[in-house]
Subunit: 208 residues, 2 copies
Amino acid sequence: MYMDIEFKKSQKGLLYVVSAPSGAGKTSLCKEVIRRIPNLEHSISYTTRKPRWDEVDGVDYHFVTPEVFNDMIQKGEFAEYALVHGNLYGTGLKITEEKLAKGISLVLDIDVQGADQLRVRYPEGVFIFVLPPFFSLLRKRLLERHSDSADEIERRLAKAYEEIKHYKKYQYVIINDNLEKAVEEFCAIILAEQCRAFRITAHPDICS
Amino acid sequence: MYMDIEFKKSQKGLLYVVSAPSGAGKTSLCKEVIRRIPNLEHSISYTTRKPRWDEVDGVDYHFVTPEVFNDMIQKGEFAEYALVHGNLYGTGLKITEEKLAKGISLVLDIDVQGADQLRVRYPEGVFIFVLPPFFSLLRKRLLERHSDSADEIERRLAKAYEEIKHYKKYQYVIINDNLEKAVEEFCAIILAEQCRAFRITAHPDICS
């Protein structure tokens, strides 16, 4: 007879760090995936930016004063933070750890620089880059939105052109030419990542 | 204006190397996944074993003489090969390369030792280990099959007990407590692996 062994997936939540150039469709993609997958939530950032009329504190962001934000930086309370156009944005460390420990996975919508910080802090995180099939589609999509001025679009494209060069630092790339297909790929990544061998434990441990 | 860039998934087939202890349900799992996924085939091994009454040459195996097999070894024509219970089994290199180049992915049903050889030859392959939720289930399933003697079952269990210690060398583990769930996980791994950043190319190359 052999000692019995139980094999189990990790019960901890996973961190999905998603970056993309403007116009790649990251926001719609993440929203739809979160709607479909249980125990998956959007990570709510802290920001010193003023809320827009339709934004709710604690839902869209945790809106805080620059004093509170700086105090949090001093206390090492951020998993990552960055200054973007004069406003501070950051991911709370405690909030994140608590969710993951409860088995809730988080989608972090974050730029290339923030992802660099998170890669150090969460090497076991899942890093996904969303790209259009063609770079030229970004201009087309930004124009179609009718929400940005021509100058703003050019500024976003210049940034996008720099950002896309970083795609190979990510584990996965979702080429978003069709929202439904992109959602399926994101969902497949989530299911596959739960099967990663390093997230599987044997009780009792047989590998050491 | 910017030079346009196209992002594309690799058109090459992928190699799925699947190992499992006897009774983990690997055969049914692989068969069902191959039935569902287009351009995915079972890799047909060479063997010196005599065909069983219901086995077809070129479908189940390529049945060859020991002389032909040894000649192929000398010429380096195997991606991996092994002697199992006095019979030689091997994966043809040329056959494999041709399928992959044509965009056909292959499932290789192979033991832990064969997988070790393939990991060196195909570091970009996808290595999957299939496990039962409990080791004790293997005995139960082998007994239920009524196809092996008590001695044969004990021999298989002893081998299984050694094999499962290698699961962490694989990239993925599928815990097979339900065939449909296991099939979904395998299919998700296939879709996710096609999105791996190192399989995505930019034309023109923007990362170098």
